[in-house]
Symmetry: C2
Amino acid sequence: MKAVGLIVEYNPFHNGHLYHVQQSRKQHGADCVIAVMSGSFLQRGEPAIVNKWSRAAMALHNGVDLVIELPYIYSTQHAEHFAFGAVSLLEAMKCDSFCFGSENGSISSFKQLYDIMAQYEEPLNELIRQYSKEGNSYPRAFSLALQSLNIKLENDIDLAMPNNILGFQYVRAGLANNYHIRPSLINRVAAHYHDSALPSGHIASATSIRKALMDEVAEDVQSFMPAFSWNELNEYAVKNNLLHSWEQYWPFLQYTLVSHSAEQLSQIYEVEEGIQHRLKEAALLSESFEQFMANVKTKRYTYTRIQRICIHILNNVSKQKMKQLMHKPSYIRILGFTDKGRQYLSEKKKQIELPIVTKPGSFTDEGLALDIHAATIHSLPLPYEQRRQVLQREYKQPIILKKACL
Amino acid sequence: MKAVGLIVEYNPFHNGHLYHVQQSRKQHGADCVIAVMSGSFLQRGEPAIVNKWSRAAMALHNGVDLVIELPYIYSTQHAEHFAFGAVSLLEAMKCDSFCFGSENGSISSFKQLYDIMAQYEEPLNELIRQYSKEGNSYPRAFSLALQSLNIKLENDIDLAMPNNILGFQYVRAGLANNYHIRPSLINRVAAHYHDSALPSGHIASATSIRKALMDEVAEDVQSFMPAFSWNELNEYAVKNNLLHSWEQYWPFLQYTLVSHSAEQLSQIYEVEEGIQHRLKEAALLSESFEQFMANVKTKRYTYTRIQRICIHILNNVSKQKMKQLMHKPSYIRILGFTDKGRQYLSEKKKQIELPIVTKPGSFTDEGLALDIHAATIHSLPLPYEQRRQVLQREYKQPIILKKACL
């Protein structure tokens, strides 16, 4: 069987994702579509709007055959680590290729960029560091550094687009590690990642969809997502009396920033350069996470970087722990599969070298323990009975979708 | 001027306290009544129902002339440390005597008990330890140990009464440290400390008053407290939309127990014998603090001991920090005074050796920093604007009551 891999967050699953799944399958003539999906906390430093089980179910009902979890140690990181974890897991799953969306560019221009990066590594990194210090976001610093060195790509990639930065890191992860998996690209249609208003048409960014959901104009988003996603979101919101956002975790973050000393906070992963003092001060002065972020924000730090730091504080993840865990993936955690996904697993299981975890209760790994820990923290705002069910699910078998259910 | 000292929590100030103030002044012919009062967190391991400023105001409007704060390092401890801190502060304030309420006994029987304790220290302590291990509360273990050694006091003190245990420790603190301050005693009228139902008459225990307030039968307690206390409680509840209880801090405690490792929790003061595992397990299974306590409770630990452990976890107070701070008081923090209290201070200030702190903003001390830290944690459930005002008050001058206000 031939498999194509996707790197996703599905926060939540919408029509753009559906298009990505369908095009990837078609373009590669794949028998099986495998998605590696962030678990409880996401790359931009946010809690997932619904838990991983709901998001995996959305994927399985919309053309994905197998969903594996991108562990916390990769899912909450900047593009390079995120991409390394995700591509390594798809390589471990023996996918023939992986397919990502990009605003512009082609695979060959991403590869060319990789060659240039390898050639100019030191001066480029030095310039990126310099531009970042001056308050530019990573994409912007990257782009300015290329300009400074007079590097012009044959097929221009707009590196101010976060998906292009991610795309580049995906391609790089494959090439730098001599993986067999081949990168490929689908042009993104319509929506831009950062758009916050819903567009016309039937494709909108997840950002704008989340915003509409939180602003209680939920019906507006119905036309931008498959029916199953829409129903799942509604059921989740009714059953749990919430969709997750930073605001529900704000009391915990505030409490931690107030109760912990600057010295204790400095042990947390990514807390650097004395930012803990700034965070502590802002915590006492803010009524909400939104206000907190506005109080903390400086030119020196991007919004995303601060949010990621806060995620690590919320989850109490130390530098020491991350150092110990940040190696190549050591397990493949299955969140769910369809009949086709099951077939693929049984066909490939002898070739797959990493342990395949379907019941975390019977497998011991510090990285997996951290994923379960993060799921526990993510579940804290839920009503007691719902939380109990979600946490039981963590230790049980994954979602299994029979053909008849589709 | 002659001063009598009282050791109090005023949680909240009621008619029994009023009687205690009036009788102490009368019995000692005192010009000035000085109360050393627990700050934000109390001896039984609970948050104060209203903050220290409200409780100090209640005291000053009801016959107390000077209120000083019993620091966190003493206020959240078992009887021996609590008594040592309180009596040492009253000694430092140059009080002639201190006066405590007792269910029975006389000062001479407390003194006799002290002599016996000094004589039988080792076997007594060994027996108390043994009986405590078997699941007896400290008072009960104490009483059983005396029985085992066949010690009979001339005037029997019922050591199962928590106030008698405290009383004994007050007397002991004075004698053991060769203090000048003289202990004295007032017989408690009517209510028992542990009573949870409101009695007839006009004196009820603070426990039963708190219970009635929390159960929203607040009007029932009006006849058991001075008008100022009643008004202050009502204003506090309306302004802040709450009276403080453990339930408001439960989400923070639960979050900490879930997010911190057993190893991290073991650094916290009083977390011993692996109880952190039990606490962590119960945290996930409980919906409220009440349920949590029911889940955690074993014969091995008294309710109060577990609550005190939880207070230290909530305030993130480590063994290391407590070890560093648990010495003789190093400052006297004034929460408020009347004209008479001010007179006393100016008359005695040359004799008082400890620094007198009225504006914490201009005085540096690690113990005082912990008191302010605890006040900050205590304030977290308040609405933003109220919290801001309370925390400003922490750094400003104390409450000053002119004669005209009384």
